[in-house]
Protein backbone atom coordinates (compact mmCIF):
# COMPACT_ATOMS: atom_id res chain seq x y z
CA UNK A 1 0.00 0.00 0.00
CA UNK A 2 2.73 2.41 0.97
CA UNK A 3 4.52 1.67 -2.32
CA UNK A 4 1.46 2.32 -4.45
CA UNK A 5 0.78 5.49 -2.47
CA UNK A 6 4.33 6.69 -3.15
CA UNK A 7 3.91 6.02 -6.87
CA UNK A 8 0.65 7.98 -6.91
CA UNK A 9 2.34 10.78 -4.98
CA UNK A 10 5.17 10.88 -7.53
CA UNK A 11 2.70 11.00 -10.43
CA UNK A 12 0.79 13.77 -8.67
CA UNK A 13 3.95 15.83 -8.16
CA UNK A 14 4.99 15.36 -11.80
CA UNK A 15 1.56 16.40 -13.12
CA UNK A 16 1.56 19.37 -10.75
CA UNK A 17 5.06 20.38 -11.88
CA UNK A 18 4.05 20.13 -15.54
CA UNK A 19 1.12 22.46 -15.00
CA UNK A 20 3.30 24.87 -13.03
CA UNK A 21 5.90 24.76 -15.78
CA UNK A 22 3.22 25.43 -18.39
CA UNK A 23 2.14 28.45 -16.34
CA UNK A 24 5.69 29.79 -16.36
CA UNK A 25 6.07 29.21 -20.11
CA UNK A 26 2.85 30.98 -20.95
CA UNK A 27 3.32 33.72 -18.36
CA UNK A 28 4.53 36.28 -20.87
CA UNK A 29 1.61 35.69 -23.19
CA UNK A 30 -0.82 35.99 -20.30
CA UNK A 31 1.00 39.10 -19.08
CA UNK A 32 1.58 37.63 -15.64
CA UNK A 33 4.78 38.04 -13.76
CA UNK A 34 5.89 35.46 -11.21
CA UNK A 35 8.29 36.23 -8.43
CA UNK A 36 10.36 33.39 -7.00
CA UNK A 37 10.09 34.66 -3.44
CA UNK A 38 6.29 34.94 -3.64
CA UNK A 39 5.99 31.50 -5.20
CA UNK A 40 8.13 29.97 -2.46
CA UNK A 41 6.11 31.66 0.28
CA UNK A 42 2.93 30.51 -1.42
CA UNK A 43 4.00 26.87 -1.54
CA UNK A 44 5.28 26.96 2.00
CA UNK A 45 1.88 28.19 3.18
CA UNK A 46 0.05 25.71 0.98
CA UNK A 47 2.17 22.75 2.04
CA UNK A 48 0.10 21.54 5.02
CA UNK A 49 -3.11 21.77 3.00
CA UNK A 50 -1.65 19.99 -0.03
CA UNK A 51 -0.15 17.17 2.03
CA UNK A 52 -3.32 16.61 4.04
CA UNK A 53 -5.59 16.90 1.00
CA UNK A 54 -3.46 14.40 -0.87
CA UNK A 55 -3.48 11.91 2.00
CA UNK A 56 -7.06 12.16 3.17
CA UNK A 57 -9.02 13.37 0.13
CA UNK A 58 -7.29 12.51 -3.13
CA UNK A 59 -5.72 9.18 -2.20
CA UNK A 60 -8.92 7.54 -0.87
CA UNK A 61 -10.75 8.72 -3.99
CA UNK A 62 -8.13 7.24 -6.30
CA UNK A 63 -8.07 3.95 -4.41
CA UNK A 64 -11.86 3.73 -4.44
CA UNK A 65 -11.97 4.35 -8.16
CA UNK A 66 -9.23 1.81 -8.67
CA UNK A 67 -11.26 -0.90 -6.89
CA UNK A 68 -13.86 -0.58 -9.65
CA UNK A 69 -11.58 -2.59 -11.92
CA UNK A 70 -10.96 -5.37 -9.39
CA UNK A 71 -12.86 -8.26 -7.85
CA UNK A 72 -12.30 -6.91 -4.30
CA UNK A 73 -14.50 -8.94 -1.93
CA UNK A 74 -14.55 -7.49 1.57
CA UNK A 75 -13.76 -10.78 3.30
CA UNK A 76 -10.77 -11.44 1.05
CA UNK A 77 -8.75 -8.22 1.23
CA UNK A 78 -5.48 -10.02 0.51
CA UNK A 79 -6.70 -11.62 -2.67
CA UNK A 80 -7.57 -8.81 -5.08
CA UNK A 81 -7.10 -9.18 -8.80
CA UNK A 82 -7.63 -6.91 -11.79
CA UNK A 83 -10.67 -7.92 -13.85
CA UNK A 84 -10.94 -5.09 -16.37
CA UNK A 85 -14.45 -3.93 -17.14
CA UNK A 86 -16.29 -6.98 -15.72
CA UNK A 87 -17.95 -4.94 -12.96
CA UNK A 88 -19.17 -2.34 -15.44
CA UNK A 89 -20.61 -5.06 -17.65
CA UNK A 90 -22.53 -6.33 -14.65
CA UNK A 91 -23.79 -2.83 -13.86
CA UNK A 92 -25.30 -2.48 -17.31
CA UNK A 93 -26.76 -5.98 -17.19
CA UNK A 94 -28.39 -5.16 -13.87
CA UNK A 95 -29.93 -1.99 -15.29
CA UNK A 96 -31.03 -3.67 -18.51
CA UNK A 97 -32.55 -6.57 -16.57
CA UNK A 98 -34.62 -4.15 -14.47
CA UNK A 99 -32.88 -5.31 -11.32
CA UNK A 100 -32.58 -3.39 -8.07
CA UNK A 101 -30.08 -1.01 -9.61
CA UNK A 102 -32.69 0.00 -12.16
CA UNK A 103 -35.12 0.84 -9.35
CA UNK A 104 -32.36 2.69 -7.52
CA UNK A 105 -31.75 4.82 -10.59
CA UNK A 106 -35.45 5.64 -10.99
CA UNK A 107 -35.96 6.35 -7.29
CA UNK A 108 -32.89 8.58 -7.06
CA UNK A 109 -34.07 10.57 -10.07
CA UNK A 110 -37.51 10.92 -8.51
CA UNK A 111 -35.96 12.04 -5.26
CA UNK A 112 -33.69 14.62 -6.89
CA UNK A 113 -36.46 16.04 -9.06
CA UNK A 114 -38.72 16.32 -6.03
CA UNK A 115 -36.39 17.48 -3.33
CA UNK A 116 -34.30 20.11 -5.13
CA UNK A 117 -37.18 22.52 -5.89
CA UNK A 118 -39.00 21.74 -2.64
CA UNK A 119 -36.00 22.24 -0.38
CA UNK A 120 -34.84 25.39 -2.15
CA UNK A 121 -38.39 26.77 -2.24
CA UNK A 122 -38.81 26.14 1.48
CA UNK A 123 -35.43 27.70 2.19
CA UNK A 124 -36.36 30.80 0.22
CA UNK A 125 -39.74 31.12 1.89
CA UNK A 126 -38.27 30.71 5.36
CA UNK A 127 -35.46 33.15 4.61
CA UNK A 128 -37.89 35.81 3.39
CA UNK A 129 -40.00 35.15 6.45
CA UNK A 130 -37.20 35.69 8.98
CA UNK A 131 -35.40 38.43 7.04
CA UNK A 132 -36.94 41.04 9.32
CA UNK A 133 -35.56 43.17 12.09
CA UNK A 134 -38.12 41.97 14.63
CA UNK A 135 -36.88 40.26 17.76
CA UNK A 136 -39.21 37.36 17.12
CA UNK A 137 -37.63 36.79 13.69
CA UNK A 138 -34.33 36.01 15.41
CA UNK A 139 -36.00 33.37 17.54
CA UNK A 140 -37.70 31.79 14.53
CA UNK A 141 -34.39 31.70 12.70
CA UNK A 142 -33.00 29.46 15.44
CA UNK A 143 -36.10 27.24 15.48
CA UNK A 144 -36.04 26.60 11.73
CA UNK A 145 -32.44 25.51 11.92
CA UNK A 146 -33.15 22.92 14.62
CA UNK A 147 -33.63 19.83 12.39
CA UNK A 148 -30.19 20.37 10.86
CA UNK A 149 -28.45 19.64 14.14
CA UNK A 150 -30.66 16.88 15.53
CA UNK A 151 -29.44 13.38 14.88
CA UNK A 152 -31.04 11.75 11.85
CA UNK A 153 -31.90 8.63 13.81
CA UNK A 154 -34.13 10.60 16.18
CA UNK A 155 -35.93 12.52 13.45
CA UNK A 156 -36.36 9.39 11.33
CA UNK A 157 -37.80 7.51 14.28
CA UNK A 158 -40.27 10.34 14.87
CA UNK A 159 -41.33 10.45 11.24
CA UNK A 160 -41.90 6.71 11.43
CA UNK A 161 -44.34 7.37 14.26
CA UNK A 162 -46.03 10.15 12.33
CA UNK A 163 -46.36 8.06 9.17
CA UNK A 164 -47.41 4.95 11.07
CA UNK A 165 -49.90 2.85 9.07
CA UNK A 166 -52.10 2.49 12.16
CA UNK A 167 -55.41 4.34 12.29
CA UNK A 168 -54.06 5.96 15.42
CA UNK A 169 -50.90 7.10 13.60
CA UNK A 170 -50.52 10.87 13.79
CA UNK A 171 -50.94 11.65 10.10
CA UNK A 172 -53.63 9.04 9.58
CA UNK A 173 -55.70 10.23 12.53
CA UNK A 174 -55.30 13.82 11.37
CA UNK A 175 -56.49 12.92 7.87
CA UNK A 176 -59.14 10.70 9.43
CA UNK A 177 -60.84 13.83 10.72
CA UNK A 178 -61.15 14.93 7.10
CA UNK A 179 -62.55 11.56 6.17
CA UNK A 180 -59.44 10.20 4.43
CA UNK A 181 -58.85 6.48 4.85
CA UNK A 182 -55.68 5.40 6.72
CA UNK A 183 -52.75 4.51 4.48
CA UNK A 184 -49.49 2.64 4.86
CA UNK A 185 -47.41 5.61 3.74
CA UNK A 186 -44.01 4.01 3.61
CA UNK A 187 -44.95 0.55 2.36
CA UNK A 188 -47.08 1.94 -0.46
CA UNK A 189 -44.85 2.53 -3.53
CA UNK A 190 -47.00 5.51 -4.52
CA UNK A 191 -46.45 7.49 -1.31
CA UNK A 192 -43.13 6.23 0.11
CA UNK A 193 -40.77 8.34 -1.99
CA UNK A 194 -42.86 11.54 -1.66
CA UNK A 195 -42.78 11.09 2.13
CA UNK A 196 -39.02 10.69 2.08
CA UNK A 197 -38.75 13.78 -0.14
CA UNK A 198 -40.81 15.87 2.28
CA UNK A 199 -38.90 14.81 5.36
CA UNK A 200 -35.52 15.34 3.69
CA UNK A 201 -36.50 18.82 2.55
CA UNK A 202 -37.77 19.57 6.05
CA UNK A 203 -34.54 18.31 7.57
CA UNK A 204 -32.21 20.24 5.27
CA UNK A 205 -33.91 23.52 4.41
CA UNK A 206 -32.76 25.32 7.57
CA UNK A 207 -29.18 25.27 6.35
CA UNK A 208 -30.04 26.62 2.89
CA UNK A 209 -32.17 29.27 4.62
CA UNK A 210 -29.00 30.65 6.18
CA UNK A 211 -27.31 30.82 2.80
CA UNK A 212 -30.29 32.58 1.22
CA UNK A 213 -30.22 35.02 4.13
CA UNK A 214 -26.58 35.74 3.41
CA UNK A 215 -27.52 36.36 -0.20
CA UNK A 216 -30.30 38.70 0.88
CA UNK A 217 -27.89 40.61 3.08
CA UNK A 218 -25.80 41.34 -0.02
CA UNK A 219 -28.65 43.10 -1.83
CA UNK A 220 -28.31 46.81 -1.41
CA UNK A 221 -31.17 48.47 0.41
CA UNK A 222 -31.20 51.46 -1.95
CA UNK A 223 -32.36 49.15 -4.76
CA UNK A 224 -35.51 48.49 -2.75
CA UNK A 225 -35.90 52.18 -2.01
CA UNK A 226 -35.55 53.01 -5.68
CA UNK A 227 -38.16 50.39 -6.52
CA UNK A 228 -40.48 51.88 -3.88
CA UNK A 229 -40.09 55.30 -5.42
CA UNK A 230 -41.12 53.81 -8.74
CA UNK A 231 -44.25 52.61 -6.97
CA UNK A 232 -43.40 48.91 -7.10
CA UNK A 233 -45.46 46.52 -4.99
CA UNK A 234 -44.08 43.70 -2.89
CA UNK A 235 -44.28 41.17 -5.72
CA UNK A 236 -42.66 43.48 -8.21
CA UNK A 237 -39.88 44.26 -5.74
CA UNK A 238 -39.31 40.53 -5.36
CA UNK A 239 -39.06 39.86 -9.09
CA UNK A 240 -37.11 43.01 -9.93
CA UNK A 241 -34.68 43.22 -7.02
CA UNK A 242 -34.63 40.15 -4.76
CA UNK A 243 -34.66 37.43 -7.41
CA UNK A 244 -31.84 38.83 -9.59
CA UNK A 245 -29.87 39.69 -6.48
CA UNK A 246 -30.00 36.11 -5.32
CA UNK A 247 -28.82 34.68 -8.61
CA UNK A 248 -25.31 33.59 -7.67
CA UNK A 249 -26.53 32.34 -4.30
CA UNK A 250 -29.04 30.15 -6.12
CA UNK A 251 -26.46 28.70 -8.46
CA UNK A 252 -24.49 27.66 -5.41
CA UNK A 253 -27.54 26.25 -3.62
CA UNK A 254 -28.83 24.37 -6.66
CA UNK A 255 -25.48 22.72 -7.22
CA UNK A 256 -24.91 21.75 -3.59
CA UNK A 257 -28.48 20.56 -2.97
CA UNK A 258 -28.37 18.61 -6.22
CA UNK A 259 -25.15 16.86 -5.26
CA UNK A 260 -26.44 16.15 -1.76
CA UNK A 261 -29.72 14.82 -3.13
CA UNK A 262 -27.97 12.44 -5.52
CA UNK A 263 -26.21 10.88 -2.55
CA UNK A 264 -29.29 10.32 -0.38
CA UNK A 265 -28.75 7.27 1.81
CA UNK A 266 -29.71 7.54 5.46
CA UNK A 267 -33.38 8.44 5.13
CA UNK A 268 -34.52 5.43 3.05
CA UNK A 269 -32.27 3.21 5.13
CA UNK A 270 -33.89 4.25 8.40
CA UNK A 271 -37.43 4.71 7.10
CA UNK A 272 -38.07 1.64 4.95
CA UNK A 273 -35.00 -0.55 4.83
CA UNK A 274 -33.80 -2.12 1.59
CA UNK A 275 -36.94 -2.16 -0.58
CA UNK A 276 -37.24 -1.84 -4.35
CA UNK A 277 -39.60 1.11 -4.13
CA UNK A 278 -37.28 3.29 -2.02
CA UNK A 279 -33.76 2.04 -2.67
CA UNK A 280 -31.45 4.81 -3.90
CA UNK A 281 -28.10 4.67 -5.66
CA UNK A 282 -26.08 5.33 -2.52
CA UNK A 283 -28.11 2.81 -0.58
CA UNK A 284 -27.59 0.26 -3.33
CA UNK A 285 -23.85 0.89 -3.19
CA UNK A 286 -23.83 0.58 0.58
CA UNK A 287 -25.74 -2.69 0.45
CA UNK A 288 -23.52 -4.12 -2.29
CA UNK A 289 -20.27 -2.87 -0.78
CA UNK A 290 -20.79 -3.56 2.91
CA UNK A 291 -23.70 -5.93 3.43
CA UNK A 292 -23.00 -8.12 0.40
CA UNK A 293 -19.27 -7.32 0.53
CA UNK A 294 -18.72 -6.64 -3.18
CA UNK A 295 -16.39 -3.67 -2.79
CA UNK A 296 -15.20 -3.81 -6.40
CA UNK A 297 -18.67 -3.85 -7.89
CA UNK A 298 -19.86 -1.14 -5.55
CA UNK A 299 -16.91 1.03 -6.59
CA UNK A 300 -17.83 0.56 -10.24
CA UNK A 301 -21.32 1.90 -9.50
CA UNK A 302 -19.70 4.78 -7.62
CA UNK A 303 -17.41 5.59 -10.52
CA UNK A 304 -20.28 5.68 -13.01
CA UNK A 305 -22.38 7.73 -10.63
CA UNK A 306 -19.54 10.20 -10.17
CA UNK A 307 -19.20 10.62 -13.92
CA UNK A 308 -22.93 11.22 -14.39
CA UNK A 309 -23.35 13.63 -11.47
CA UNK A 310 -20.12 15.43 -12.34
CA UNK A 311 -21.26 15.96 -15.93
CA UNK A 312 -24.64 17.25 -14.83
CA UNK A 313 -23.11 19.69 -12.33
CA UNK A 314 -20.64 21.00 -14.85
CA UNK A 315 -23.50 21.59 -17.28
CA UNK A 316 -25.47 23.31 -14.53
CA UNK A 317 -22.52 25.58 -13.85
CA UNK A 318 -22.22 26.46 -17.52
CA UNK A 319 -25.92 27.18 -17.88
CA UNK A 320 -26.52 29.12 -14.69
CA UNK A 321 -23.27 31.01 -14.34
CA UNK A 322 -23.49 34.74 -14.78
CA UNK A 323 -21.89 35.83 -17.98
CA UNK A 324 -19.05 37.96 -16.84
Amino acid sequence: MTVSALIIAAVFVVVFALFAFYDVVTSRRRKVKYRIWTAMTAYLMLLPAIVLAFLFVLLPILYSLGYAFTDYYLLKPNNISYIGFENFKQVFQEIAGRGTLYHALINTTEFVVGVVPLQIGLALALALFVNKTYKSAKVFKVCFFAPVVISLSVTSFLWLQILSPSEKGLLNSLLGVLGVKPRDWLRDPATAMPCIIVLSAWQGCGYQMLIVLSGLSNIQQNLYEAASLDGAGAWHKFTAVTWPGLRSTFVYIIITVFIGACRILTQPMLMTGYQDHTVTLSYYMYQQGYTYRWVGYSSAVALLMTIVIGTITLIQRRVFREKD
Partner: protein, 306 residues
Protein backbone atom coordinates in the same frame (compact mmCIF):
# COMPACT_ATOMS: atom_id res chain seq x y z
CA UNK B 1 -60.76 42.87 19.32
CA UNK B 2 -58.15 44.83 17.40
CA UNK B 3 -57.76 47.24 20.29
CA UNK B 4 -57.41 44.41 22.71
CA UNK B 5 -54.59 42.86 20.70
CA UNK B 6 -53.00 46.24 20.32
CA UNK B 7 -52.89 46.63 24.08
CA UNK B 8 -51.02 43.36 24.40
CA UNK B 9 -48.20 44.44 22.12
CA UNK B 10 -45.57 45.78 24.48
CA UNK B 11 -44.67 49.44 24.11
CA UNK B 12 -46.56 49.63 20.84
CA UNK B 13 -47.68 53.14 21.44
CA UNK B 14 -44.32 54.39 22.54
CA UNK B 15 -42.60 52.90 19.51
CA UNK B 16 -45.17 54.48 17.29
CA UNK B 17 -46.51 51.28 15.80
CA UNK B 18 -49.92 51.80 14.31
CA UNK B 19 -52.77 49.39 15.14
CA UNK B 20 -52.70 48.13 11.58
CA UNK B 21 -49.03 47.29 11.78
CA UNK B 22 -49.55 45.78 15.20
CA UNK B 23 -52.05 43.30 13.82
CA UNK B 24 -49.63 42.46 11.05
CA UNK B 25 -47.00 41.82 13.67
CA UNK B 26 -49.27 39.58 15.70
CA UNK B 27 -50.25 37.59 12.61
CA UNK B 28 -46.54 37.31 11.83
CA UNK B 29 -45.78 35.95 15.29
CA UNK B 30 -48.65 33.47 15.16
CA UNK B 31 -47.53 32.11 11.77
CA UNK B 32 -43.95 32.02 13.01
CA UNK B 33 -44.87 30.06 16.11
CA UNK B 34 -46.81 27.51 14.07
CA UNK B 35 -43.93 27.15 11.63
CA UNK B 36 -41.47 26.86 14.50
CA UNK B 37 -43.48 24.04 16.00
CA UNK B 38 -43.28 22.22 12.68
CA UNK B 39 -39.51 22.41 12.93
CA UNK B 40 -39.15 21.94 16.67
CA UNK B 41 -41.33 18.91 17.22
CA UNK B 42 -38.41 16.46 17.44
CA UNK B 43 -37.00 18.50 20.30
CA UNK B 44 -40.39 18.70 21.99
CA UNK B 45 -40.65 14.94 21.63
CA UNK B 46 -37.15 14.36 22.99
CA UNK B 47 -37.82 16.63 25.97
CA UNK B 48 -41.17 14.99 26.68
CA UNK B 49 -39.82 11.46 26.38
CA UNK B 50 -36.85 12.21 28.60
CA UNK B 51 -39.30 12.67 31.48
CA UNK B 52 -40.94 9.29 31.09
CA UNK B 53 -40.48 5.80 32.47
CA UNK B 54 -40.52 2.95 29.98
CA UNK B 55 -44.15 2.10 30.82
CA UNK B 56 -45.29 5.68 30.41
CA UNK B 57 -43.37 5.89 27.15
CA UNK B 58 -44.99 2.71 25.83
CA UNK B 59 -48.41 4.06 26.73
CA UNK B 60 -47.83 7.36 24.91
CA UNK B 61 -46.04 6.08 21.80
CA UNK B 62 -47.84 6.65 18.53
CA UNK B 63 -50.35 9.11 19.89
CA UNK B 64 -50.23 12.85 20.43
CA UNK B 65 -49.34 12.15 24.07
CA UNK B 66 -45.76 11.46 23.04
CA UNK B 67 -45.23 15.20 22.69
CA UNK B 68 -46.30 15.94 26.26
CA UNK B 69 -44.24 15.21 29.34
CA UNK B 70 -45.47 12.86 32.00
CA UNK B 71 -46.52 15.43 34.59
CA UNK B 72 -47.82 12.75 36.92
CA UNK B 73 -44.36 11.42 37.62
CA UNK B 74 -41.74 14.12 37.32
CA UNK B 75 -39.37 12.23 39.58
CA UNK B 76 -38.73 10.01 36.57
CA UNK B 77 -37.20 12.95 34.71
CA UNK B 78 -34.69 13.54 37.48
CA UNK B 79 -33.91 9.83 37.50
CA UNK B 80 -33.31 9.71 33.74
CA UNK B 81 -31.03 12.72 33.69
CA UNK B 82 -29.26 11.56 36.85
CA UNK B 83 -28.55 8.15 35.32
CA UNK B 84 -27.13 9.68 32.18
CA UNK B 85 -24.44 11.35 34.24
CA UNK B 86 -23.99 8.89 37.07
CA UNK B 87 -24.24 5.50 35.33
CA UNK B 88 -22.93 6.25 31.90
CA UNK B 89 -20.47 9.03 32.77
CA UNK B 90 -21.13 10.96 29.59
CA UNK B 91 -19.37 14.07 30.88
CA UNK B 92 -16.01 12.43 30.16
CA UNK B 93 -16.95 11.87 26.53
CA UNK B 94 -18.26 15.42 26.35
CA UNK B 95 -14.86 16.71 27.48
CA UNK B 96 -13.22 14.57 24.78
CA UNK B 97 -15.55 15.98 22.16
CA UNK B 98 -14.75 19.53 23.24
CA UNK B 99 -11.04 18.78 22.97
CA UNK B 100 -11.38 17.17 19.55
CA UNK B 101 -13.53 20.05 18.37
CA UNK B 102 -11.08 22.64 19.66
CA UNK B 103 -8.16 20.91 17.98
CA UNK B 104 -10.03 20.53 14.70
CA UNK B 105 -11.30 24.11 14.73
CA UNK B 106 -7.84 25.55 15.36
CA UNK B 107 -6.00 23.36 12.86
CA UNK B 108 -8.76 23.63 10.25
CA UNK B 109 -8.72 27.41 10.34
CA UNK B 110 -4.93 27.59 10.22
CA UNK B 111 -4.42 25.09 7.40
CA UNK B 112 -7.37 26.01 5.19
CA UNK B 113 -7.18 29.71 6.01
CA UNK B 114 -3.56 29.85 4.91
CA UNK B 115 -4.37 27.93 1.75
CA UNK B 116 -7.37 30.16 1.01
CA UNK B 117 -5.26 33.25 1.54
CA UNK B 118 -2.59 32.04 -0.87
CA UNK B 119 -5.23 31.13 -3.45
CA UNK B 120 -6.91 34.52 -3.11
CA UNK B 121 -4.00 36.89 -2.88
CA UNK B 122 -0.74 35.42 -4.19
CA UNK B 123 0.26 34.64 -7.72
CA UNK B 124 2.42 31.60 -8.38
CA UNK B 125 2.89 28.97 -11.09
CA UNK B 126 0.55 26.02 -10.64
CA UNK B 127 -2.23 28.13 -9.18
CA UNK B 128 -4.61 27.46 -12.05
CA UNK B 129 -4.15 23.74 -11.57
CA UNK B 130 -4.92 24.04 -7.87
CA UNK B 131 -8.01 26.20 -8.47
CA UNK B 132 -9.25 23.60 -10.89
CA UNK B 133 -8.62 20.79 -8.37
CA UNK B 134 -10.52 22.67 -5.66
CA UNK B 135 -13.61 23.25 -7.81
CA UNK B 136 -13.35 19.74 -9.22
CA UNK B 137 -13.26 18.11 -5.79
CA UNK B 138 -16.26 20.13 -4.64
CA UNK B 139 -18.35 19.78 -7.78
CA UNK B 140 -17.61 16.15 -8.57
CA UNK B 141 -18.84 14.17 -5.60
CA UNK B 142 -16.91 10.96 -5.44
CA UNK B 143 -18.58 8.22 -3.44
CA UNK B 144 -15.56 6.90 -1.65
CA UNK B 145 -15.69 3.88 0.49
CA UNK B 146 -14.28 4.46 3.92
CA UNK B 147 -12.01 1.42 3.54
CA UNK B 148 -9.06 3.15 1.83
CA UNK B 149 -9.15 5.99 4.34
CA UNK B 150 -9.05 3.44 7.13
CA UNK B 151 -6.09 1.68 5.54
CA UNK B 152 -4.24 4.96 5.06
CA UNK B 153 -4.66 5.92 8.69
CA UNK B 154 -4.01 2.50 10.19
CA UNK B 155 -1.47 0.88 7.88
CA UNK B 156 0.32 3.64 6.03
CA UNK B 157 0.53 6.16 8.84
CA UNK B 158 0.44 3.48 11.52
CA UNK B 159 -1.78 5.49 13.85
CA UNK B 160 -2.67 2.80 16.35
CA UNK B 161 -3.68 2.77 20.01
CA UNK B 162 -3.40 6.27 21.38
CA UNK B 163 -2.03 7.80 18.23
CA UNK B 164 -5.44 7.08 16.67
CA UNK B 165 -6.44 10.39 18.22
CA UNK B 166 -4.50 11.98 15.37
CA UNK B 167 -6.54 9.82 13.02
CA UNK B 168 -9.62 11.68 14.21
CA UNK B 169 -8.08 15.14 14.00
CA UNK B 170 -5.97 15.07 10.83
CA UNK B 171 -8.63 14.02 8.29
CA UNK B 172 -11.00 16.58 9.81
CA UNK B 173 -8.33 19.27 9.51
CA UNK B 174 -8.44 19.42 5.74
CA UNK B 175 -11.62 20.64 4.11
CA UNK B 176 -11.62 21.53 0.45
CA UNK B 177 -14.89 23.37 0.90
CA UNK B 178 -13.41 25.56 3.61
CA UNK B 179 -10.47 26.44 1.37
CA UNK B 180 -13.03 27.50 -1.24
CA UNK B 181 -14.93 29.50 1.36
CA UNK B 182 -11.81 31.25 2.65
CA UNK B 183 -10.60 31.99 -0.88
CA UNK B 184 -13.87 33.64 -1.84
CA UNK B 185 -13.98 35.60 1.38
CA UNK B 186 -10.40 36.86 1.16
CA UNK B 187 -10.85 37.86 -2.48
CA UNK B 188 -13.39 40.40 -1.26
CA UNK B 189 -11.01 42.04 1.19
CA UNK B 190 -9.63 45.16 -0.54
CA UNK B 191 -5.97 44.98 -1.50
CA UNK B 192 -5.30 48.29 0.23
CA UNK B 193 -5.21 46.83 3.73
CA UNK B 194 -2.34 44.53 2.88
CA UNK B 195 -0.36 47.00 0.86
CA UNK B 196 -0.25 49.36 3.79
CA UNK B 197 1.24 46.61 5.92
CA UNK B 198 3.67 45.53 3.22
CA UNK B 199 5.04 49.04 2.96
CA UNK B 200 5.83 48.70 6.65
CA UNK B 201 7.93 45.67 5.67
CA UNK B 202 5.70 42.92 7.04
CA UNK B 203 6.09 39.50 5.40
CA UNK B 204 3.22 37.43 4.02
CA UNK B 205 2.71 35.33 7.15
CA UNK B 206 2.59 38.40 9.35
CA UNK B 207 0.13 40.04 6.96
CA UNK B 208 -2.07 36.95 7.15
CA UNK B 209 -2.09 36.77 10.91
CA UNK B 210 -2.12 40.48 11.75
CA UNK B 211 -4.21 41.97 8.95
CA UNK B 212 -6.28 39.32 7.20
CA UNK B 213 -7.44 37.08 10.05
CA UNK B 214 -8.62 39.94 12.24
CA UNK B 215 -10.70 41.23 9.32
CA UNK B 216 -12.25 37.80 8.86
CA UNK B 217 -14.05 37.27 12.12
CA UNK B 218 -17.27 36.25 10.42
CA UNK B 219 -15.79 33.59 8.15
CA UNK B 220 -13.61 32.24 10.95
CA UNK B 221 -16.70 31.98 13.14
CA UNK B 222 -18.61 30.27 10.33
CA UNK B 223 -15.92 27.67 9.76
CA UNK B 224 -15.55 27.18 13.50
CA UNK B 225 -19.26 26.54 13.98
CA UNK B 226 -19.45 24.01 11.18
CA UNK B 227 -16.29 22.29 12.38
CA UNK B 228 -17.80 22.09 15.82
CA UNK B 229 -21.11 20.67 14.58
CA UNK B 230 -19.22 18.22 12.37
CA UNK B 231 -16.96 16.93 15.12
CA UNK B 232 -19.69 16.90 17.72
CA UNK B 233 -22.09 14.87 15.56
CA UNK B 234 -19.61 12.47 13.99
CA UNK B 235 -19.72 8.97 15.40
CA UNK B 236 -18.93 6.61 12.54
CA UNK B 237 -15.32 7.46 11.84
CA UNK B 238 -14.16 7.93 15.47
CA UNK B 239 -15.73 4.69 16.63
CA UNK B 240 -14.05 2.92 13.74
CA UNK B 241 -10.53 4.04 14.43
CA UNK B 242 -10.37 4.73 18.17
CA UNK B 243 -9.68 1.86 20.54
CA UNK B 244 -12.37 1.32 23.11
CA UNK B 245 -11.06 2.28 26.53
CA UNK B 246 -10.19 -0.40 29.02
CA UNK B 247 -11.98 -0.12 32.31
CA UNK B 248 -10.48 2.39 34.70
CA UNK B 249 -8.78 4.41 31.97
CA UNK B 250 -9.84 7.70 30.51
CA UNK B 251 -11.78 6.85 27.33
CA UNK B 252 -10.85 8.24 23.92
CA UNK B 253 -14.32 8.15 22.42
CA UNK B 254 -16.08 11.41 21.60
CA UNK B 255 -19.64 11.88 22.76
CA UNK B 256 -21.66 10.52 19.84
CA UNK B 257 -19.53 7.40 19.50
CA UNK B 258 -20.03 6.77 23.19
CA UNK B 259 -23.76 7.38 22.87
CA UNK B 260 -24.22 4.78 20.13
CA UNK B 261 -22.37 2.30 22.32
CA UNK B 262 -24.38 3.24 25.40
CA UNK B 263 -27.63 2.92 23.46
CA UNK B 264 -26.79 -0.67 22.65
CA UNK B 265 -26.55 -1.60 26.32
CA UNK B 266 -29.39 -3.85 27.40
CA UNK B 267 -31.58 -2.27 30.02
CA UNK B 268 -31.18 1.37 29.02
CA UNK B 269 -34.58 3.02 28.77
CA UNK B 270 -35.87 5.23 25.97
CA UNK B 271 -36.19 8.06 28.49
CA UNK B 272 -32.51 7.79 29.35
CA UNK B 273 -31.52 7.73 25.67
CA UNK B 274 -33.54 10.89 25.03
CA UNK B 275 -32.12 12.57 28.13
CA UNK B 276 -28.61 11.87 26.85
CA UNK B 277 -29.51 13.22 23.40
CA UNK B 278 -30.96 16.39 24.93
CA UNK B 279 -27.87 16.94 27.04
CA UNK B 280 -25.59 16.47 24.06
CA UNK B 281 -27.55 18.80 21.77
CA UNK B 282 -27.34 21.72 24.17
CA UNK B 283 -23.77 22.81 23.26
CA UNK B 284 -24.61 22.85 19.55
CA UNK B 285 -27.62 25.04 20.14
CA UNK B 286 -25.77 27.50 22.30
CA UNK B 287 -22.97 27.79 19.79
CA UNK B 288 -25.37 28.15 16.88
CA UNK B 289 -27.41 30.85 18.62
CA UNK B 290 -24.26 32.80 19.43
CA UNK B 291 -22.75 32.47 15.97
CA UNK B 292 -25.63 32.59 13.51
CA UNK B 293 -25.13 36.32 12.89
CA UNK B 294 -21.54 35.64 11.79
CA UNK B 295 -22.56 32.70 9.59
CA UNK B 296 -24.89 34.87 7.53
CA UNK B 297 -22.21 37.57 7.36
CA UNK B 298 -19.48 35.10 6.45
CA UNK B 299 -21.42 33.41 3.67
CA UNK B 300 -22.58 36.83 2.52
CA UNK B 301 -19.11 38.30 2.17
CA UNK B 302 -17.73 35.14 0.58
CA UNK B 303 -20.47 35.37 -2.05
CA UNK B 304 -20.29 31.62 -2.72
CA UNK B 305 -19.75 31.93 -6.46
CA UNK B 306 -19.26 28.56 -8.04
Amino acid sequence: MVNKLYEYLPNAERKGISPKKAIGRIVYIVIGVILSLLFLFPIVYMLATSTKSESAYAASAGSIAMFFPDFADLGEAAKNYGNVFANYGIWRYAINSFLYAAAVIASNILVNGLAGYVMAKLNFPGKRFLSFMIIFLIVVPVETSIIPLYSIVKIMLGLKNTASVLGVILPATISIFNIFLFTQFFENIPQGYEEAARIDGANTLVVFFKIILPLSKSIVATVAVFCFIGVWNDYLWPSMILPYAQEGQWPLYPIQSALTTIQSIQGITTGEIMASLIVTSIPIFIIYVLAQKYIVQGFGTAGLKM
